[in-house]
Each structure stands twice: as structure tokens, then as C-alpha cells.
Amino acid sequence: MLFYTLKRFILTVPVAIGVSLVCFLLVHLAPGDPLTAVLPTDASAELQAQMRTLYGFDKPLPVQYGLWIWRVLHGDLGQSIATGRPVISEVFNAVTNSLVIAAAATLIGFVLGSLLGIVAGYYQGTWIDRAASLISSLGVSVPHYWLGMVLVIIFSVQLGWLPATGGGPDGSGNRSFEWNYLRFLVLPAVTMSVIPMGIIARSVRALVGEILTQDFVQALAAKGLTERGVFRHVLKNAAPTAFAVMGLQLGYLLGGSILIETVFSWPGTGFLLNAAIFQRDLPLLQGTILVLALFFVFLNLTVDVVQSAIDPRVQRS
């Protein structure tokens, strides 16, 4: 177990370095000088050179990367060009906000998706299966940004039950478990949950179907175990993989939240990315993407390690 964890961790290091390299190069992929956004168009050549030295853009790329990664390892992602605030604090706040809806969505998606998947897997081939599979198909095919708009139209515009946009009643970014705050969370979280719901339902259906064909299930039934007892065994076998799928979904949702956050004006990473892209705030763009991608890399690692801890079959394969 320890050996596996260590091996998995060592394998992650080159990927993490590669990810940081991609994030670093993104800025240089951008057309034009990275400084054009900061400087007025009529800036003198002298000022331009000065700024270039200040931001370190005059050094060769490998040196720039080395300096950048050194600062990143010390928790310094540079300063936002637009606001002048440290990127790390902006990203930290945004990630927290995004995690709130991503986690809520994953939870909703997991509960509904597992239910659908178990039912569909158990009654494979019947109309129940087809209905459940149709719902999960709809979940993965729906453009979620559109679903968000439709939900806003129904529940905010027409019924007036829930707020259409925003991250809270006063815009202060405070969090609390009062309904006044939570009601802002409902629509974005429900909208976002359809993706993990569809994906988890599909995986669980396939899992349950596969487990049901295995010999041990027949053996359990043959020794006289009640249907409920057999069902419990099936669940226990499906759980590790289902949890792994759920864990990865959290990462995908956090990374892909930009569309939904745009629809609901939710003050998360998507909102930050949007601002960074359209104000050409490159340090902010770089920092946000780096944090999100590294989060995903380490989430992958954690999911793998946890899965192999609760399910020894994983290590052997």
C-alpha cells in the first residue's frame, strides 16, 4: 500500500511539472507582447524596456520559467495587472467559491446518479432501465449553460422562488448556512449536477450489470441469501469505483465551472478566468489555470490512492 502510494506520487511529479510548463507557456502563446495590456499604446521604447526588465520578460524563456516556478513554490503567483492585488489571494477566494458549488453539485449528482445507475443496472433491458438511461443520456448531452438559463427562466423569472444571479445577498462573499445565502447556491448547483449525475449513472449501471453476472452473486443467491443481502454485496463491490468517478467529477466541475459561473455571475474561478481573458490579465490567467490544473492533478492522485486503499483489486491491475 505504502509502496503503491509512493509510486503513484512519484509518477505525479513529472505531470505536475509538465502542467506548470504548459501554464507558463500559455502566456507566451498569446499573440503580441504580454505587456501591451499594461502599457499605454504611446509608451516610449525606454519605458517599455524598463517594464520588460521589471516583469523579467527580457530574460531567456528557461530562465523566466525557473524564476517563475521558484516564486510559485514560495506561494507567489505574481500580481494581477488589472487590480494590482496578489494573484494568489484572488485565486484562493475564487477557488473557495467554486468549490462550494462544485461540491454541492457533485453530491447531488452522486446521489441521483447512483440511484439511477443502480436501478438501471438491476433492471437491465427493462423499461425502467431505458427510462433511467434516457435521463442519464439527457444529463450528459444537455448544454449546461443553457439548462442554467432555462432554470433561471422557470424558477427566478416566472416563479420568483430563487435569485437569478449572484453569489450572496450582500455581495460581500460571506458564507453561511442560512437560507438567505443558500438559496443563491440552489440553481447553480442543480444545473451543474446534471453532468456528474449522467456520468455517474452510466458508470454505476455498467458496474452493477457487470457485478451481477459474476459467479459470486450466483453463489450468494444459491446459498440462500435474501435478495436484499445480495444487493448489499453488489453495492459494496460497486462503491469504490463509483466513489472514484465521483472524485474525478469534482475536479472536472471545478475546472469547467466557467460556463455556469458566467450564467449565474457566481464569483468563482470561472468569473476570474473570464475577467483575466478579456482584460488580458496574463498573470491572473496563468495563476488561475495553474491552481485549477494542479488541484485536478492532486485530486487524481488522491482518488487513486484512496481507491486502492479501499479496493485492493485496483493495485493488482
Binding site: P14, V15, G18, V19, L21, V22, C23, L26, V27, L29, A30, P31, S137, L138, V140, S141, V142, P143, H144, Y145, W146, L147, M149, V150, V152, I153, V157, Q158, A164, G251, Y252, L254, G255, G256, I258, L259, T262, V263, L273, N274, A276, I277, F278, L285, I289, L292, A293, F296, V297, N300
Partner: protein, 296 residues
């Protein structure tokens, strides 16, 4: 000489092929009513895009301030008018062109590049495999939407940049599938037999590997088309794809966002088009997958 020719010619004529795997797939798909409905919808959408100029009742660019945000069923505007008074029906019809172009182009390109990378890595193995697959791993480590947004955000808004970004997003997963299938096939006995009989690497790949690996990669790639549709329109929705005033469903959805208070149904129409397209491709991909899985 003439005797020789006569005697060899029957051997040279290709033997009539027995109904092969692919004709079986086509037969099975064509018996699946759900998949056929999806195919019908897709063909209709493509025809709509191709013949947009003859079908559309009005000019999709012609705006008029007086007709802004007309509801569905307004005389002359069967599906209403948008925020600039342009005919929604015509814009939705014309929108199929860019939306389908953006959604459909990335997958085949990524299929070719990803398969080439994956098959090479899987067949050659060793250092080549390590180099290709570890690079792929880095890109695979990004959540797909984030990578697409990051790339097109860095490259700048525009149709081509959006297409490039989405294609790049799909190469890693396709390459991974291609690599794992190729590695499996490579270790089979008939590849060894072909190598022992003196066949070169290219011949083996072309004759023995491609035929066996392209199927699974193809099935996987078809499942990506619906994701590509959603992602492509999503980029336009964010303002990173097609620029206004071009009609494109994602972009239309974005510009109509403020209209949800006055004309909610009109505002939701472009998204419904994306949904229909995406689900049709998804259902067809599911049908293909079932039809190609001989085991079940």
C-alpha cells in the same frame, strides 16, 4: 505464356468478400429505431445548414430597432425576433452552419492526429512511447473545459483559435485510447507471425494493426462529437468563438441572455438547438457502440 496467364487469372481476381464486420454494424444500426431517428435529425440539421440560404425566410443579419424581441408567433417572425430585431428562425437556420462546423470539425482532426500518435506510441513502444504518452499525460491532466478555455483565451477570440483549442483538447484522450488498444493488439500472435514472415513495420501497421484498432478508437471518437458541440458553442457563449453579428447558436444564446425577462422562450431557442444536436449525436454514438460490440 498464354497458358500461364489463363491459369493464374482466376487466382488474381479478388475473392468475393463475405459480408464483413462493417456491413454487420451497418445492418445492426439500421435496425435500431432510436439510432435511426438520431441519424435522421442529424441529416436534417446538416441539410438545413447546407441549404440555409434557400430555406431561411429572411436575412439573418437584417436588424430593425422597431421589431426588437418579438415573441414567438409574431406575423412574419414565426420564432420571434432577437435583441436587434433580426428574424430568429432565419438566424437559427443559418446558425446551423457555424455551430455544426465548429462542433464537427475538431473530432475528425483530433481522431487523425490522436490515432497517429497513439498507434505510433503503442506499436513502437520504448522511448518513443514514453515521450509521446508522457506529453499526452500532461495535457490529459487538465480538465477539458479548462484547457479549451485557457487555450482559446490565450490565443485570443476567434473561430480558428476556438477550433484549434477544441481539437487540442480531444487529441490526448483519443491518443490514450489508441495507444492502449494498439499495445493490446501488438502483443497478439498474428502480429508476431507477420513479423516472422518478413513484413515491415508499415505493412504490419497498415494491414494488421489499423483494421483492428480503428474500430474501438472510432467508437470512442463518435462519443466526443456531442461534447464537442457543447464545448464549441460554449466557447462562443463565453465570447471566445465566433464574433457577432455572425449567427451561431452559442453566441446567440449569450446575446439573448438579457432577454430572459421579456422573451424567455425566444432567449432559450438557440440552446434548444444545441441540445437537440448534441443529444442526436450522443444517441447515434450509443447506437454505434452497441452495434459494434459483437459480444453483446
Amino acid at each position: 505464356m498464354s497458358i500461364l496467364q489463363v491459369s493464374t487469372s482466376p487466382v488474381l481476381t479478388p475473392i468475393a468478400r463475405s459480408p464483413g464486420y462493417w456491413s454487420g454494424v451497418v445492418r445492426r444500426v439500421s435496425r435500431d429505431p432510436v439510432a435511426m431517428t438520431a441519424l435522421f435529425v442529424i441529416v436534417a440539421l446538416i441539410l438545413m445548414a447546407v441549404f440555409a440560404s434557400s430555406i431561411a425566410p429572411a436575412d439573418p443579419f437584417k436588424s430593425a430597432m422597431l421589431r426588437r424581441l418579438k415573441p414567438i408567433g409574431t406575423p412574419g417572425f414565426p420564432l420571434g425576433a432577437d435583441e436587434l430585431g433580426r428574424d430568429m428562425l432565419s438566424r437559427l437556420i443559418y446558425g446551423a452552419r457555424l455551430s455544426l462546423l465548429m462542433g464537427l470539425t475538431p473530432v475528425p482532426i483530433a481522431f487523425i492526429i490522436g490515432s497517429a500518435l497513439g498507434i505510433t506510441a503503442g506499436y513502437v513502444g520504448g522511448l518513443t512511447n514514453t515521450l509521446i504518452m508522457r506529453t499526452i499525460d500532461v495535457f490529459y491532466a487538465f480538465p477539458s473545459v479548462l484547457l479549451a478555455v485557457a487555450l482559446s483565451g490565450a490565443l485570443g477570440a476567434g473561430l480558428t483559435n476556438a477550433l484549434v483549442s477544441i481539437t487540442l483538447v480531444f487529441i490526448p484522450p483519443i491518443a490514450r485510447v489508441a495507444e492502449s488498444v494498439t499495445t493490446q493488439v501488438r502483443s497478439l500472435d498474428y502480429i508476431d507471425a507477420a513479423r516472422a514472415s518478413g513484413a515491415g513495420a508499415f505493412t504490419i501497421i497498415r494491414v494488421h494493426v489499423l483494421g483492428n484498432v480503428l474500430g474501438p478508437i472510432f467508437v470512442y471518437a463518435t462519443g466526443l462529437v456531442s461534447v464537442s458541440m457543447i464545448l464549441a458553442s460554449g466557447l462562443s457563449f463565453l465570447g471566445l468563438g465566433v464574433r457577432p453579428p455572425e449567427p451561431e447558436w452559442g453566441l446567440m444564446l449569450n446575446t439573448l441572455r438579457t432577454a430572459i425577462y421579456n422573451q424567455p422562450l425566444v432567449a432559450a431557442l438557440p440552446g434548444a438547438m444545441i441540445f437537440i444536436t448534441s443529444i442526436a449525436f450522443n444517441v447515434l454514438a450509443d447506437g454505434l457502440r452497441t452495434a459494434m460490440d459483437v459480444k453483446s
